[in-house]
Structures are given as C-alpha cells and as structure tokens.
Amino acid sequence: MEHAVAHEGGASTKAYMVVFVSLAVLTVIEVLIPTQFDFPKMMQIIILVALALWKALLVALYYMHLRFEPRRLKWMVIAPLPLAVILVLAVLTEF
C-alpha cells in the first residue's frame, strides 16, 4: 500500500500485518501455557483469559476498525460488555 497511514484515519496495511503476526504469536503462547508449563490452575486461567481478551481487543480495534469509529459508536459497543460480565458473575455466585 502506497500510503502507510491510510485515509480517513483507518488502519494501514502495515498495521493489519502487525496485528496478524501478534495474533499468531499470542495463539502459540496460549497453546504452550497448558501443554508446556506447569503453572497453578488459577494462574493459568488468568493468563489465558488475559491473552484471549488481548487478542479479541486487537481484532475489534483494528480489523473491525473500532479504534477509528466515532466516539458514540465506541460507547455503544462498550455498553453491553459490563452487562455480559454481570450475567455470568451473578449466576456464578449461586452455587
């Protein structure tokens, strides 16, 4: 791509490739954690969930262009996420 920083504030092809490599590397790290390392289970879960959220964030911000969208749309997307967490945590405390 000629212009490294793309038009209209969107991501560049270079950024897309950096995200791609990051996702691939993070996936390899994820697979190694339960198979090659002997972390305590809780620590393993925390690391794996953190890595997954990191990858999800990369996809949303760059591939779905959320980083470059109007602020109103960003808030609309963020709004249900706490509700999703509440949905799980509220029921999780039931047993």
Binding site: M1, A6, R72, V77, L92
Partner: protein
C-alpha cells in the same frame, strides 16, 4: 452539513440523518453483533457455571480434545481475518482485482475451517464423544459433550453463514459491483466475519485450553 456528509460517506452509503456518524447498514450490523455478544455470553456463561459446579465432568486440556488441530484451525481463522481486511483495504483504494483475490482467499480459508471442524466432529464422535445424556464415559459425564457441541456448533454455524455471505460478495465483486465509493457490503460482511473470529478466540481459550 458538509462535514456530516463526509463522515457518513465512508462506506459509500447514503444516509438521511447523522445519528451515530456511521451509515445505517454499519450501525445495523453493530447492533446485531452486540445482540450476538449477549447470545454467546449466555452460552459461554452457562458453560463456565456448569463446569465450575461439576468440575469432575470435564476433561483437562488435550485429554479429549485435540489442541494442536484446533490451534491450526484458530490460525486458519486468523488468516481469513487478515485476508478479509486486505480485501476491504483493496476496495477502499478502488483495486477490484485485489478485492476479488482476497475475498476468494477468505471464503476458501473459511471453508477450510469448517472442513477441519467437521473432521474434528467425526473423529470425536467416532471415539464416543457425543452430545448425549448417556455421556462420555472417559470424560466422566454428559455435560462435557453437550456444552462442547452446543458452543462450537453455534460458532460453526456462524462461520457457515459467513462463508455464504463471502461467496455472495465474490459473485458481486466479479460483476464489478463494488467501487472505492460504494463498498458498504464488503465492510459490514467484514465486521461480521471478524466478529466470528473474535468469538472463536474466546471459545478456543475457554473450551480447549482451560
């Protein structure tokens, strides 16, 4: 008004009012995807709760499910996300040849993902891992199979729908329907496709690695 028109023009779609500052089809897709967030949250949430309540009914990573095979499938989906975004970048520049090429790649890789998943299902079920109340003896109980097939099945169905949408885009792209100023369909299909990838990132961790 000029500013608003410029903002709204991003996907080349007409819009009658400013609203969120994006064209209506894109806003619609985002709202739909947010409803999907809640749908998959309920599935994943149920899984977490069932597993926390009955840990003995679930196997450890790699005991039943093939982590390496699925890691490869995860990689396939990541590849299809980058090809999708390259297709979008191509048509933003007005490059129809690259658009067609990357769309075909994306659709083919998506089919590859489904192929691996079907293979995985056949392998697992041939070893007795089925969504049955009889349960899977080696893993201990019925919950494991039921939750596994429900979550991965619904995700696979989403990929299937995405592949259909991608082939539709391919056909339209070969008809020269998309241009630098009119490619909203490519963008919103891309949003859906990346979301399906995003869900898989979470599912892969929750179902296969933890």
């Amino acid at each position: 008004m000029t500013t608003n028109a410029a903002v709204l023009d991003r996907g080349g779609m007409d819009a009658t009012e400013v609203g969120m500052g994006v064209y209506n089809m894109k806003l619609g897709m985002w709202v739909f995807l947010l409803s999907e967030v809640m749908f998959f949250t309920s599935l994943i949430g149920s899984y977490i709760i069932l597993r926390a309540a009955h840990p003995e009914m679930f196997a450890q990573p790699g005991e039943v499910l093939a982590v390496n095979l699925t890691a490869f499938n995860t990689f396939l989906l990541i590849c299809s996300s980058v090809t999708m975004v390259l297709a979008f970048a191509a048509i933003e520049r007005g490059d129809q040849a690259k658009l067609k090429m990357w769309l075909v790649f994306t659709a083919l890789i998506g089919m590859g993902f489904l192929g691996v998943q079907v293979y995985e299902y056949i392998e697992l079920s041939s070893h007795g891992f089925v969504p049955s109340v009889e349960g899977y003896e080696a893993a201990g109980a019925p919950l494991y199979g039921s939750t596994f097939y429900t979550m991965t099945g619904f995700h696979g169905f989403h990929v299937f729908v995405g592949v259909l949408a991608l082939w539709y885009l391919v056909i339209q792209a070969f008809r020269g329907k998309y241009t630098a100023n009119d490619h909203g369909a490519v963008e919103i299909t891309g949003l859906y496709w990346h979301f399906v990838d995003l869900v898989w990132i979470i599912l892969f961790t929750i179902v296969y690695l933890i």
